[in-house]
Symmetry: D2
Subunit: 388 residues, 4 copies
Amino acid sequence: MSYKSGRHFLQIPGPSPVPDRILRAMDNPVIDHRGPEFAELGQAVLAGIKRIFKTESPVVIYPASGTGAWEAALVNTLSPGDRVLMCETGQFATLWHELAGKLGLEVEFIPGDWRHGADPQAIAERLRRDDGHQIQAVCVVHNETSTGVTSRIGDIRRAIDEAGHPALFMVDTISGLASADYRHDEWGVDVTISGSQKGLMLPPGISFNALSDKALARAKQARLPRSYWDWSAMLASNATGYFPYTPATNLLYGLKEAIHMLEVEGLDHVFARHQRHAEATRRAVQAWGLEVLCLNPAEHSPVLTTVLLPEGHDADRLRRLILERFDMSLGAGLGKLKGRVFRIGHLGAINDLTLLGTLAGVEMGLACAGVPHRPGGVQEAMRFLADR
Amino acid sequence: MSYKSGRHFLQIPGPSPVPDRILRAMDNPVIDHRGPEFAELGQAVLAGIKRIFKTESPVVIYPASGTGAWEAALVNTLSPGDRVLMCETGQFATLWHELAGKLGLEVEFIPGDWRHGADPQAIAERLRRDDGHQIQAVCVVHNETSTGVTSRIGDIRRAIDEAGHPALFMVDTISGLASADYRHDEWGVDVTISGSQKGLMLPPGISFNALSDKALARAKQARLPRSYWDWSAMLASNATGYFPYTPATNLLYGLKEAIHMLEVEGLDHVFARHQRHAEATRRAVQAWGLEVLCLNPAEHSPVLTTVLLPEGHDADRLRRLILERFDMSLGAGLGKLKGRVFRIGHLGAINDLTLLGTLAGVEMGLACAGVPHRPGGVQEAMRFLADR
Amino acid sequence: MSYKSGRHFLQIPGPSPVPDRILRAMDNPVIDHRGPEFAELGQAVLAGIKRIFKTESPVVIYPASGTGAWEAALVNTLSPGDRVLMCETGQFATLWHELAGKLGLEVEFIPGDWRHGADPQAIAERLRRDDGHQIQAVCVVHNETSTGVTSRIGDIRRAIDEAGHPALFMVDTISGLASADYRHDEWGVDVTISGSQKGLMLPPGISFNALSDKALARAKQARLPRSYWDWSAMLASNATGYFPYTPATNLLYGLKEAIHMLEVEGLDHVFARHQRHAEATRRAVQAWGLEVLCLNPAEHSPVLTTVLLPEGHDADRLRRLILERFDMSLGAGLGKLKGRVFRIGHLGAINDLTLLGTLAGVEMGLACAGVPHRPGGVQEAMRFLADR
Amino acid sequence: MSYKSGRHFLQIPGPSPVPDRILRAMDNPVIDHRGPEFAELGQAVLAGIKRIFKTESPVVIYPASGTGAWEAALVNTLSPGDRVLMCETGQFATLWHELAGKLGLEVEFIPGDWRHGADPQAIAERLRRDDGHQIQAVCVVHNETSTGVTSRIGDIRRAIDEAGHPALFMVDTISGLASADYRHDEWGVDVTISGSQKGLMLPPGISFNALSDKALARAKQARLPRSYWDWSAMLASNATGYFPYTPATNLLYGLKEAIHMLEVEGLDHVFARHQRHAEATRRAVQAWGLEVLCLNPAEHSPVLTTVLLPEGHDADRLRRLILERFDMSLGAGLGKLKGRVFRIGHLGAINDLTLLGTLAGVEMGLACAGVPHRPGGVQEAMRFLADR
């Protein structure tokens, strides 16, 4: 076995680096999930996570990864053959779309170029044409982890409202929560899906559904078979701080610590920090003369930045070289972007110097790999970061 | 906040105490689940867990608790309305039965008294009457965590074979694996379900489906909607050590260590150790003049012992008193046993002295709670343990 | 490599088992010992440890084990050839005596039978005979770890006072602090020596000198060469929360947590808990028909119990057998007690059930080793513990 | 309490960042330091540490920080009033000099400008003038942590030999060991002093004396009082893997892991890695137009780089600003360099990207603090690091 000296730079857009405080919180004996000590833990995290989603409605916590929470959102609210409207913002929207199909839903997919967020107008238009209100749900990915583009959830809410359409509004902010500003209640989202291993800075293994009254009402009629994902059993047990089946106790220890850390820093500060690092990163990319995938400045992700390589240059080769020489993981191009882009994660528990080490790794990697670029990206990011 | 001096005795029948080695293995930075280092981890645990199930067929690992693996077994192999034969061995069999019903299956439930394992003859008889082979699957709980009774899986296999019935054979050994002898291949089980937080000594959060060729063949026709639980996507990714969606990386670190520990000790030694502790516990119960719930000596669980209280004595009051005075968690009576029994877990990472501390806590608790009993249970257990 | 299942029972009279909370506190990145964050830590532990010693005078913290703190007490206060009065209470008093000799001090050693504490009258008598006040210091071991006998420090203080003798009074409570009641100021001790790995529940590696004004005044004239142990440099740096050389930072993290835990439980509760466990242990020994080494009931140690084996039985063989069969470490007989006694530690982070597991290990070990005894010690201890 | 997002950059010249592997190794239950399991640990670390010092003679391990090991080297080999020759290479040489004085030794101090290592010729010359061989020991600091200058130990050995002088040769490589090439046997050093918290990547708390036959022979005559530091008791116990008093067990766990990590990487690779990072750092400093304190290119430290600020600029203000804004600790100017320099640690468990993050923090700090400099240091370091 060989050890690389020093700490690996995990700069993929999630899982994000887990802070020591959270690892240590998790590194504790399991407790009886039916005992009184657990109830305190359960109530603390169930209350705390609502503040992170900015909701007063319940949030369900699953021992599952984010993909499970996608499935949960659908099976609790829909019936076989129901029509659902989704937006092709990238690979994760595509996967969610596939998942919905496997569950027996009829999915319409508003096409996209993977360089823009979901288009509120296109959604509104489609809904307006849906006279019979066949469409049961509109599903949008808030922060597309495959592209680094965010969708404007508030605007989409307004678009749905203007169309006067009763569809449920479901939003995946798996990689956005606790990094990008997110407001479940204010934006009138019915089901928000998220996961642990991004802005919450936890290892993967738990995921979330934040609900609304409307979603809960729909759940009563929904006929897709469900048991593990069933909200009603969850909510019944959660009322006293417990879970209907064995929860992922040690991740809940970590969640408690994560919520505490986020609240001590302050969510607004957390969001501003992510924006600042994202801006520094984009300035570096620009300085290198490379192209950021996201085309709309209003939709730049604070979580990750996706960089297009010049034609003829293989992004996976670059990533491999950077991993081997500089011990840094970057995100691969997914789906139709495979080999054409790499993704820099700048979310979660990082700071200016880690970001600059990251950008230095990219800049050196570009040089080593012979990718045409101008040096000076790190310099530019430093200038920006030193200034504010 | 207050701390109790010393270490809590977690003597419920799972989650079992997590050894420091495993907690420390988990207390490590998350790695890129799409990078080369992960593939090594993935391949190691996917290969290792097969040895624990004693199978050469694939084992699927879910980021989910055991309940999810129950659901997975059913949705991968069955279609809406399929008939399934289950056996009422206790509360967990009852919950699995309910889960199957929620998924839209037709479940027959062979009734039981919660003091015996599933009856091979009753199963054979029912199958023989099933001329048209309507029954698609026979589902049995190997180690009933609510009762401390094991079902004789080998005998049930023979019973199915003698009935000449083609039903799939699915076994839940969530609390049995790596504590009680279990042989997926030799016993011809088609799907074995298990979880992490029992004999594997891990925190809860991952669970398993061990498969057979027959199960895989059935999966191709099965029409229950599925995506998260879908074996085919799992197996495709697992081939190279990866997972189709984000796995619970840190639990996989722990799983690798757990497999290593079990194999260094030797599975046969692990099983013998559990049998020895179970026998010592039963001798203590007998010495107290109390009744073990399990009535058939061939079906005593090596994992836990369920103790009946004399009429008029509330087992939950006893458990509360023991928790408060002696900082030990015991298992509650579940379902129709609520208040009438308590359950002593003696599984996983424990040793003679921990068991004796446990039994001492019970014996003192009986005295403090005024439950009629003879002292001397610990003495009897010591005599047994010192002898071999 | 082989792993024993379950947790080792570390029942030696120190190091005592380190609670998870303390191990986790220590498992954190080192910080700059000259930075502002360190000063907060330093001030917190320097203030907190004074409360544990019950003193308002400074306490010096050394990166060293207890033996170093013995040396520190002497070299800071004495000059070559100075006369010192010590009391032979056991092996540790003997080692301290040897150490003093190596440093060039003239040591008188009041002989003892290793079954009693230091005799206040013998001390008073000797001091009264010391007309010219040649004796510069009286040195006593508070809790003799080799015998399980405590010396009555308050009484000795009174004896010195009654003799009207100006000698410094130095007390080793390395294994007594935070387990046995100890009052540096009230008892007028000039230097108290202690260590981390006993009642403070930390790993070994730091040790202490609690001072008095008189000790500090003496230090100004003392001419034994010293640098590492020099109080003056320590106190100068400590004033702002720092240390004159690199401190054992991670042990200080642990110390902060230990002080917190002790204060949340309450020192009086901590002392009562130790007394209760000691009494339970002695009752077990009596029930076995074996002899406790300590002969004076007023001097029984709350920290450990030393048990004499019948003639012709080798205590080390017994200990080895218990280690191999039951994975428990007990303390060996030291010095002239080698092979004749074993020592049961019941200090620090333990609870009733751990103690009973411990006593069960001893009782089974006695049986396995063929040491003549009556069974029933555990039973007797249970009776006592269940009663209060 | 407030948390800073991300990981603190601890870039002082020791303590160096402790790798997770080592923290986790230390985060384990204490074991009986007189039991058989300990002997295995003791033997492993006592053998392993010899390979790190490149010696076949014994290495003594103290539960103490490096300052204690300084004292140990002197008290084991010298007698009151002995004459010792030391070289003023910087603050640590000055402190060692003071310590020797406190112990009652006569110390001659060859003056130095703190910008060069010890001068072999000056030493040789002084020794040649010492006709009566009054000088008992020559003491040199290998890697001056206060200046970033290394002394050429091999050359000094040759100088002593050429002078034909029998003095002991003692070398402090507290901050050099396991970062800078060091050869105890080949260089004929009699006592080498080192500590845990630098190249060994451990927390502070243990320190070392590597011996020679000549040193051991001298120890027999040496008359400085000693007990805690006494080699003979140590070596007697070490023969079987034990220690004469309670060792710092958990740091020994860490030491075992550290030795393993260093040997898996290979010491030569470790040294080359440090050289490479030191060179990159110096190039950055040069690019900034600032001055490296060390004037002799043959004496540049691979462990740290000390940077002179232009007149009128306060290095401590710069360091404070960098700590507050960029969460990085740098080393302060010590002694007569206070306020005039800062020190960049680049030792132990770091890698290229961490170093570049570090240099970025310095470069931004210079800008924020208004220290005259040219940007481009990070750029220059990147160019260098990407090239090889």
